[in-house]
């Protein structure tokens, strides 16, 4: 079982993402993004669906306040029922085009050991 790497996702993302086939290295399934105050120009259908998740609610009848806020790539894939590999690429494109961005308070990548310490401390606090 050590054949060449298959990339079965090639066709679908290629079509759905307007030609891009690789996500940015910093866009992973757990990467959180928010709407940027960027362009609102024409977007392909799938990209529009993604952006709709970030649209501020216009008078939500449920009374729960506006939609919007941060979402990780995985959250978007689940909400839109799109393959996560496709969403990674869509989000990458939308970051490149200025539609999406990292949250303003986001910390730069830190050494993995710092994050691990924080995870360990945090989990211990929960029990």
């Amino acid at each position: 079982m050590t054949g060449p790497r298959r990339d079965p996702d090639m066709v679908r993302p290629y079509v759905r993402t307007g030609g891009q086939i690789r996500p940015r290295a910093d866009v992973r399934l757990e990467s959180v993004v928010i709407a940027a105050n960027g362009p609102t120009g024409a977007l392909a259908a799938d990209a529009r669906l993604v952006m709709r998740l970030f649209a501020p609610g216009d008078g939500d009848p449920g009374g729960g306040g506006p939609r919007g806020g941060g979402l990780a790539v995985a959250d978007i894939a689940a909400a839109l029922e799109m393959p996560p590999s496709t969403v990674r690429i869509l989000v990458s494109s939308l970051m490149d085009s200025g539609h999406l961005t990292s949250p303003p308070s986001a910390l730069p990548d830190e050494p993995a050991s710092d994050v691990l310490q924080e995870v360990l401390r945090g989990l211990r606090e929960l029990v």
Partner: protein, 215 residues
């Protein structure tokens, strides 16, 4: 549980969106792997602070186990479901995502996406079918992803001494082996803590020599 609103009538009504709190400044992920039915989703549901969600990734695989070099191998598309949840730590500044990943070798393409950047992996095992986690162990070793193993203690599963389990799973002596009840939040958290302790103490936790795992 905090749900965002999902009341746009033109949208799929069945998918609530749980927005990430504005306090989140960074995110990280841990993968929970193992065979079907071993309790991955149960464990994620036990600890997640949002209702677990599901992603579905279509993958193409050979429809037979035989390589066909004539150019038109039979292929089928399988949709693999992956459940995930989220815990907010450190006063809400850190979102820890937990992704459930089926351990079959044939899902190798998914592992590349899911394990990329993962802090580590908790492999769930059932003593009634230890073989079911061999795929996960093989893939983790290929990827060089550090892991701990947790036996999900199903009531009717036989108990075995650690030494036997370690031998059956061919675990490195340094790899943590623990037990948990995936239905129980605290028990599941302790299993994750066991993994996190290992990750913080192993030497050179940050090195990514891809060849390392092949040696």
């Amino acid at each position: 549980m905090v749900f965002g609103n999902w009341s746009d009538p033109s949208a799929d009504p069945g998918r609530p969106v749980a927005y990430v709190p504005a306090s989140v400044r960074r995110s990280a992920k841990i993968v929970v792997a193992g065979g079907f039915g071993v309790g991955k989703t149960t464990l994620i549901g036990s600890v997640s602070e949002v209702a677990p969600l599901r992603m579905e990734e279509p993958i193409t695989e050979e429809s037979t186990g035989v390589d066909d070099l004539r150019g038109t191998p039979g292929k089928t598309t399988t949709t693999v479901g992956m459940d995930f949840g989220r815990i907010h730590l450190a006063g809400g500044s850190l979102a820890l995502y937990l992704f459930g990943l089926p351990g079959q070798i044939r899902f190798r393409p998914l592992w590349e996406d899911l394990t990329e950047g993962a802090l580590g992996c908790l492999v769930l095992a059932d003593t009634r079918n230890l073989d079911a986690c061999h795929g996960a162990l093989t893939l983790l070793e290929e990827r060089g992803t550090p892991y701990a193993v947790a036996i999900n203690t199903f009531p009717d599963a036989p108990a075995h001494p650690d030494a036997e389990l370690r031998e059956a799973l061919a675990l490195d002596p340094a790899t943590p082996l623990t037990r948990c009840d995936a239905r129980d939040r605290a028990s599941s958290l302790y299993a994750l803590i066991t993994l996190a302790e290992y990750l913080t103490t192993r030497p050179a936790a940050t090195h990514l020599d891809p060849l390392e795992s092949l040696r």
